[in-house]
């Protein structure tokens, strides 16, 4: 008889993606994050996309210096990934989806 591991509670992951509108890496980051969320966080994520060209001070206040950058805000611990999110395992680790 096998012991089933209890399923983790469906916690909503809150994220913030900082991009530069039209930048190729920003476009790539959006696409990569879209694929990851669809596969690993269906219906349990909240994402805000911020164009730093329009809102540079907001980005600066959040400690963002380079775009694209993904910030995981909750649940704790917070984490940050810089780049076009093509390294899927890094993203999953940052989001706490893989150990």
């Amino acid at each position: 008889m096998s012991r089933k591991k209890p399923a983790p509670a469906a916690t909503t992951v809150v994220m913030c993606l900082y991009i530069a509108e039209g930048g190729p890496n920003s476009v790539q980051a959006i696409a990569n994050l879209e694929a990851i969320c669809k596969e690993h966080l269906p219906d349990r994520f909240k994402l805000e996309i911020i164009d730093v060209i329009q809102h540079p001070l907001r980005a600066l206040a959040d400690g963002i210096v380079v775009t694209p950058s993904l910030a995981k805000l909750s649940p704790s611990p917070t984490a940050r990934v810089v780049g076009n999110l093509s390294d899927k395992s890094s993203v999953l680790r940052a989001l706490g989806l893989r150990g």
Binding site: I19, A20, E21, G22, G23, P24, N25, S26, V27, I30, A31, L33, E34, C37, K38, D43, F45, K46, L47, E48, I49, I50, D51, V52, I53, Q54, H55, P56, L57, R58, A59, L60, I64, V65, V66, T67, P68, S69, R80, V81, V82, G83, N84, S86
Partner: protein, 519 residues
């Protein structure tokens, strides 16, 4: 999740950040480059930001000193390309880039839209990724020669044998023929692009020129035509040949009957058209009936597109088995009144554009004025002929003189033959018998521009006998009130005069025979 417009947010609980800040990205240039280097150097070596930049995974850096966003060079280049792309997409011309094999590498929106709807086979009808040269080679019918010429031009430009190739051509399209001006230029410094195609749709301009030429042709037809039937035939033919229509017919308003009757027609010389026109000759159209009746009633142009089915307008449905299943009719106007309807037939008839409507209005008005003028002239000619007939039937004659009292016209039984009278004054005629005093008096009346009545004089006939005449006259003036001469009538009173003379002679004889009366 779908790609979302930046500066917004996404998912079920989207949050729109406030627009509390806006700092335009720094423009490219040496200063921006130096500042970019400085900011990068301040980043922690080996840190995620620095690594992302070094891996080419970053788009922009925010200067922590002042919040200025500095775009990385690649992003700046792409932004420039995007702006150029937007500008090209905003142009109405069709623009595409060809590779060395003549394949369309990229195209602006106008070209892509044309390709998507397959508006034409050659030119903008070639989709991105397809070969322009192959499309040219596949052109057939009337486009075959154009396809060969364009393909040759493209090859020459791609091979560098010429810098520029320009060509005007027409393409068949579902909406009718379209005209393009094609311009192809070589590209040397942006491989794999080898040529840029700039194709401008000049259909509207060409069509405008064609319609203007038609208006001029109609004006020439009317100027050259000697009568209404010739003018109508010439105008109908000019319209048909310009528009590529098979035939046209003119229906004249019969004011007495209140109907339109066939008056004149022209058609291409084919059996079907000739048969159709023959059947039209006795056609009578009531106001409001069919296409022509509606045009007469409304005073507006109407049309049936080729291939359209309109049972209500079946009267205009043309000969079965021909290409004439489309019709276009417009009123012929004079002084704001419809005096007739011109109706044309062909399968290529389409809904007219504003320019076409303007042209048919012009043609209808020109023709209407011409026909009314011709009608007035015909009436005048008929009246004149009637007048001549009457004067020929009577003893009277009609005459006219110029300002020097020389005869310019003599109609009817005059004093002498018209040839002997014309160019002379009455008193210069060689056979006139009267004394000089009478002429002096008569000339003084003429100099005073008086009318005169019952001026009697005698003339010697060729047989030596006298004839007697009586004339009446009155001065004539032009529109400006300037004296132009005299006109009047004359009457041969020889019989009356001879009778009077005979009576006087008999009375004298009787008096002599009776002898002196003694008291």
């Amino acid at each position: 999740m779908k790609p979302t417009p930046p500066a917004a947010s996404m998912n079920a609980e989207s949050v729109m950040p406030g627009r509390e800040e806006h700092a335009p990205a720094e423009a490219a240039g040496p200063d921006a480059g130096r500042r970019l280097e400085k900011v990068i150097l301040r980043l922690v070596k080996g840190g995620p930001e620095r690594l992302a930049i070094e891996a080419g995974q970053a788009d922009a850096i925010i200067d922590p000193a002042n919040g200025t966003v500095i775009l990385l060079p690649e992003v700046q280049r792409q932004a420039r390309n995007r702006h150029i792309g937007s500008a090209l997409d905003g142009l109405t011309a069709h623009i595409a880039v060809l590779d060395p094999a003549g394949v369309v590498l990229a195209a602006n929106k106008t070209w892509r839209d044309a390709a998507a709807t397959r508006q034409t086979r050659i030119g903008p009808g070639v989709a991105v990724g397809a070969s322009y040269l192959a499309a040219c080679a596949a052109a057939d019918g009337s486009e075959r020669v154009d396809g060969i010429a364009i393909a040759a031009g493209i090859r020459q430009v791609i091979a560098g044998e010429r810098r520029h190739f320009r060509y005007d051509h027409a393409c068949a399209s579902p909406a009718g023929p379209r005209w393009f001006t094609l311009s192809i230029r070589g590209v040397a410094d942006d491989p794999p692009a080898r040529a840029v195609v700039y194709c401008e749709d000049v259909t509207e301009r060409k069509r405008g020129e064609s319609l203007l030429a038609l208006e001029h042709a109609v004006a020439r037809c009317l100027a050259d035509a000697g009568n209404a039937p010739a003018a109508l035939k010439a105008v109908i033919r000019a319209v048909c040949e310009t528009q590529g229509w098979d035939c046209g017919r003119y229906f004249r308003l019969d004011p007495a009957a209140g109907v339109l009757r066939h008056e004149e027609s022209w058609g291409v010389p084919t059996a079907a058209v000739e048969q159709f026109l023959e059947k039209s000759r006795d056609l009578v159209v009531r106001p409001g009936a069919g296409l022509k009746g509606r045009v007469y009633q409304t005073g507006q142009p109407l049309w049936i597109r080729g291939g359209a089915q309109d049972a209500d307008l079946s009267q205009t449905a043309l000969a079965p088995g021909t290409d004439m299943d489309g019709a276009f009719a417009f009123p012929v106007m004079s002084e704001d009144q419809t005096i007739g309807v011109l109706a044309f037939s062909h399968h290529t008839v389409r809904a007219p554009d504003d320019r076409m409507l303007q042209t048919v209005h012009s043609i209808g008005s020109q023709l209407g004025r011409f026909l009314q003028r011709q009608q007035a002239l015909d009436t005048l000619r008929r009246n004149e002929a009637r007048f001549r007939k009457l004067t020929e039937l009577s003893n009277d004659w009609y005459w006219e003189q110029d300002r020097d009292f020389r005869f310019t016209q003599s109609v009817g039984h005059g004093i002498l033959g018209a040839g002997e009278v014309l160019g002379r004054t009455l008193w210069e005629l060689p056979n006139i018998v009267t004394d000089d005093d009478e002429w002096v008096t008569h000339r003084s009346h003429l100099d005073a521009r008086w009318s005169f009545c019952d001026l009697e004089f005698a003339a010697v006939r060729p047989d030596g006998q006298l004839s007697y005449y009586c004339i009446n006259g009155e001065p004539t003036y032009d529109e400006a009130g300037t004296f132009t001469g005299y006109c009047g009538t004359g009457l041969n009173i020889t019989d009356r005069k001879l009778a009077e003379i005979a009576l006087r002679e008999r009375a004298a004889c009787s008096l002599a025979a009776s002898g002196p009366v003694s008291g």
